[in-house]
């Protein structure tokens, strides 16, 4: 049975050929530890890591690439953003569509005296801006928002929120897990102080890669201290980026692969990728709406969402739908809560969650038609 992969919101697959080749090339022919010593191997490795920083800077309109530190994933990036900026007495605002990668660190901080407010979103997952503005208090320090929901794909008005943050002197943190590589991100125009990203979704890199951009002038305390290959006689952690947030050896093969992924995106143009994914999602949505007893979540217009579509069947548990899609049709999806209980609460899909379909650049219209047919068949029996 041919496999149809529709779980790109969990991790994109397959990757562009160049990604596999770059990782293999690095492992076979380079192999040095970047920043550790100045042998040709270490320097070649460091140059490759620098190149990935520069490619990411180009993609996100970041003028200083060394303001990007690499992390193993966006969860760590978000932990750095929150725990490195907030102190007891500070107030943090986020939305009711956020992932556990922000909600859990926030709840942990709440136990240490940091105030948190969760701003409601509509049943389609859209942020209520009026409620957001109303939630700002004297001690508000940060607003953290996911650019696009991992459950409904709903795109949040980050430019508008960026302006609100700038006017009120707040740190604006953006979680780009579902948008980087798919939607335009411009840290300057959108007034993003801290951009967190993962490498293995829309950026088409391997798992175990991610990072954090911090605007010049803003200092964030590291989560961990250790070897950086720089200023080793100093007992204190370096304060300059990227070293301050990069203790320990990096996932260099992964970062080199991520660079190849971003190079692919820049060559294709994210507009092209976005258009393809939008068309597939629109087609999928239209098809699903014709199936009786099926409910689709999120915005009706696919221009308002990333390529993520969650649905439920009145009479079958989402986990069962996902299981049958894989076992009877070879279609890979993800059912359940998608690490986002807050979002499912907003949508009214607790406790079972929903079945999520997330097309990627390498999916075809034919695959979408086959999938729609399969879901219609499952719904019937």
């Amino acid at each position: 049975m041919e496999k149809i992969y529709l779980d790109n919101a969990a991790t994109s697959w397959p990757k562009p050929e160049g990604v596999y080749a770059a990782i293999d090339y690095f492992n076979r022919n380079v192999g040095g530890n970047p920043g550790r010593g100045t042998t040709n191997l270490a320097l070649a490795s460091a140059r490759m890591v620098l190149e990935t920083r520069e490619l990411l800077a180009e993609l996100f309109h970041i003028s200083h690439p060394l303001r990007i530190s690499f992390t193993p994933n966006i969860t760590e990036s978000l932990n750095v953003a929150l725990k490195g900026c907030l102190a007891p007495g500070d107030h943090l605002i986020f939305s009711s569509m956020e992932h556990n990668s922000i909600a859990r660190p926030a709840y942990a901080l709440a136990k240490q005296g940091i105030e948190i407010s969760i701003v409601p979103c509509s049943s389609e997952g859209r942020l209520n801006i009026k409620a957001l503005v109303k939630a700002i208090k004297k001690n508000t320090k940060m607003i953290s928002l996911s650019h696009a929901s991992n459950v409904t794909g709903t795109i949040q008005p980050i430019s508008e929120v960026g302006e609100i943050c700038q006017k009120n002197g707040l740190i604006f943190v953006v979680d780009s897990a579902q948008s980087a590589g798919i939607l335009p991100i411009d840290v300057q125009r959108q007034h993003i102080d801290i951009l967190t990203f993962t490498g293995h979704k829309g950026l088409l890199g391997p798992q175990g890669t991610g990072g954090i951009y911090i605007r010049p002038g803003l200092t964030v305390k590291p989560l961990k201290e250790g070897g950086t290959g720089s200023q080793s006689l100093d007992t204190n952690q370096p304060e300059f980026m990227p070293d301050s947030l990069e203790s320990g050896t990096l996932n260099t093969p992964g970062i080199v692969g991520l660079g190849a992924g971003v190079r692919f995106l820049l060559k294709q143009g994210i507009d092209t990728i976005r258009q393809h994914e939008e068309e597939l999602t629109q087609l999928l949505r239209q098809n699903l709406l014709e199936i009786p007893k099926l409910k689709v979540y999120g915005p009706a217009n696919c221009k308002d969402k990333a390529a993520v579509l969650s649905f439920t069947l009145e009479h079958i548990n989402p986990a069962q739908v996902s299981f049958r899609l894989e076992n009877e049709f070879g279609i890979i999806t993800r059912a359940g809560l998608h690490c986002s209980p807050l979002a499912h609460q907003t949508l009214g899909t607790l406790p079972h969650g929903a079945c999520r379909l997330s097309p990627g650049f390498f999916n075809t219209r034919e695959e979408i038609e086959i999938t729609s047919q399969a879901i219609a068949e499952i719904a019937q029996k």
């Binding site: 320097l43 003028s63 690439p65 060394l66 200023q231 080793s232 006689l233």
Partner: protein, 74 residues
């Protein structure tokens, strides 16, 4: 010779790239031992007449610099 030093290899490599793009004759060398306290990393060796322009360029690009142009006797 004139050198500029950086706190880490990453900053040195990025500086090398930016200076080369401007057509400045730059070469990365190990930090000369005369510069005590900065035993790690790389220095950029460059012509004395380019130091001022180079420092301005690197400042504009957010490169961290330790020694902002120092003459070393060879």
């Amino acid at each position: 010779m004139w050198v500029i030093t950086f706190p880490s290899v990453t900053h040195a490599l990025r500086a090398e790239k930016l200076l080369k793009e401007k057509g400045i004759q730059v070469k990365l060398i190990p930090i000369p031992k005369e510069l005590s306290g900065a035993c790690q990393g790389l220095a950029a060796k460059l012509p004395g007449e380019d130091v001022e322009e180079s420092i301005a360029l690197l400042d504009n690009h957010g490169i961290d610099i330790i020694r902002r142009g120092i003459q070393i006797k060879m």
